[in-house]
Symmetry: C2
Subunit: 327 residues, 2 copies
DNA sequence: CTGAAAGCGCTTACAG
DNA sequence: CTGAAAGCGCTTACAG
């Protein structure tokens, strides 16, 4: 590798001090005579000089690097968050250092520590955990905001979709189609907001709650849950699925069981990823405002509020009606 | 933010010089007396010291950062590459700086430049371009390897799946089912390797080639292509689709047209992403060895061959037989 | 408007 | 086995 050209090379070439090179490159903080500046710019061009960002980061104490911890890029929802955070950060001149975890608390902590040691200016954690209180133990001196959490996170700014209201609306929509009680496919953790929203809708409608099938937040998890749920002859005729990925699995289980959607079973899912637009049939889904969430998270990470402002911010979900609900 | 604890703080606390702290932290290059080392470790523990990686990078001239340029994380194939590169790099103690582009040459160049200025030790470019020769103009002093290219890239190590043979095998498999000529859904660029493989299979079988429908590498692109392809009454009864994403769109077009898969039309796609396992019906697909490709790319980026070794490496694709081909 | 010098937090010859 | 010192490439008071 040929040695890189440094600020000193430029200074020598242009016949100025290295400070002046800095003033020109950064457009300050001292003024430079137009003629001098032009000479410097020529030198930069001729030599192909590019400031070394590592040295800048060390000196400035800011890397213009944003850390982003995500559970698993294989899930289109997380990939969507990664994409959105990247775009928003780029617009502010930040690059993002992405760290994926296996979804576990342990890995999440390790990655946060590593990111902090890397000198990132702030960290966004897109967590898969409903109650990621544990993260609070990391006492790193930089802003950390939790994206996609369902609950308050003591000591940290956090931000998520209104899962309760989203699930309530999705379930209510299903109930409105008069298919009787609505079943639920969801993850293992009971008492989650999507589950509560589903219950609330049933309560409001005065219909009983349908059966629950729990499974992993994956296509496979949804498939298995769907098989269990629809095996009995007196299976439910409507189901709210708490993630798109699981819904794709449910669709397959239904298909194999010979049940048509929406004729025999109406389906509404949660997340609103692109995949749902092309399932058979296209899924009616409760869309998370991924871009808005990313924008808000990055803003809060990069412009932290005056001390103590660790509020939770909730963004509204939106029901996207397609074919699977039987509208 | 509380000032970070530095190596000097540790040295003071342990009553040694800062050099000794380095020796302990890095386990060299000078030996340290066991008792001294223990004291230093205590100090590190007590103070919660973590080496500043920015300073290390500046001093060592190596950031232990790998740059990775990807077209679009919204495409599960690219997300899969991102994930795999991340995992492989992590295993070698490298973090990866991910830079997404919009798929254009311009953005790709900009991101490569930015990554280089960031001081990454090497760059992996997962390009969407069949002939990314243009990248050759960037004369950065670090290794750059092209992942997922179909052709030789003059001046750079490159690496991709055997697209010709994969497409040939997929098409031949379809031909073997005796559905007559096999149609092709593919991107806009003619003369691509997947197209050549498809042609070769037809030639070998002595069947004529089927019609071609071109469209974007997206679900939407596949959907539109599928609609055009299967509108006529004398539509083809077998189709090779050059990406999973497009195949999902084709499946929907077929469904809307009232054509059953595989009974009326047999389908084989290319890529082998997870989504294909849960489509209706599950897709027979030519799988790219994503993990192996990532491993090879990272290895070549981090352990560059002695000068001049800019060979192209081709990895075999594997036919994964599921339901859509009518087996 | 310009320059000499200190310092960001590390690592590593060099000397003892 | 241990320490004093130089230097990685920058930025920024400070002095002129």
């Amino acid at each position: 590798m040929s040695r890189n050209v440094t600020r000193a090379d430029v200074a020598r070439y242009a016949g100025v001090s290295s400070a002046v090179v800095s003033y020109v490159v950064n457009d300050g903080p001292r003024p430079v005579a137009p003629a001098t500046a032009a000479r410097v710019r020529e030198a930069i061009e001729a030599l192909g000089y590019r400031p070394n960002t590592t040295a800048q980061a060390l000196r400035r104490g800011s890397s213009r690097l944003l850390g982003h911890v995500v559970p698993d890029l294989g899930n289109p929802l997380w990939a969507g968050f990664a994409l959105a955070v990247d775009a928003v950060a780029a617009a502010r001149g930040y690059d993002v250092l992405l760290a994926s975890t296996d979804g576990g608390v342990e890995a999440e902590h390790r990655r946060i520590e590593a990111l902090s040691a890397r000198g990132v200016d702030a960290i966004v954690v897109t967590s898969v955990m409903a109650r990621p209180d544990l993260v609070a133990r990391s006492g790193l001196g930089i802003p950390l905001v939790q994206l996609n959490t369902f609950f308050e996170v003591p000591g940290f700014p956090s931000l998520g979709v209104d899962a309760f209201e989203g699930a309530r609306a999705g379930t209510a929509h299903l109930l409105g189609h008069g298919r009787g009680p609505v079943a639920l496919v969801i993850g293992g953790e009971a008492g989650e907001l999507r589950e509560e929203g589903w219950r609330a809708a049933a309560r409001e409608a005065g219909s009983g709650v349908g059966p629950i099938a729990r499974g992993e937040f994956s296509r496979r998890g949804g498939y298995d849950a769907g098989r269990r749920l629809f095996a009995p002859d007196d299976h439910p005729h409507a189901v709210f699925v708490s993630s798109d990925l699981q819904a794709v699995g449910v669709l397959r289980a239904l298909h194999e069981r010979g049940l048509r959607v929406p004729d025999d079973v109406a389906v509404v899912s949660f997340d609103g990823t692109e995949e749902t637009e092309f399932t058979l049939p296209p899924l009616t889904t409760v869309r998370q405002p991924v871009e808005e969430m990313a924008r808000a998270a990055v803003a809060r990470a990069l412009d932290p509020a005056p001390d103590g402002e660790h509020e939770r911010q909730v963004l509204p979900a939106e029901l996207v009606v397609r074919r699977s609900c039987g509208c």
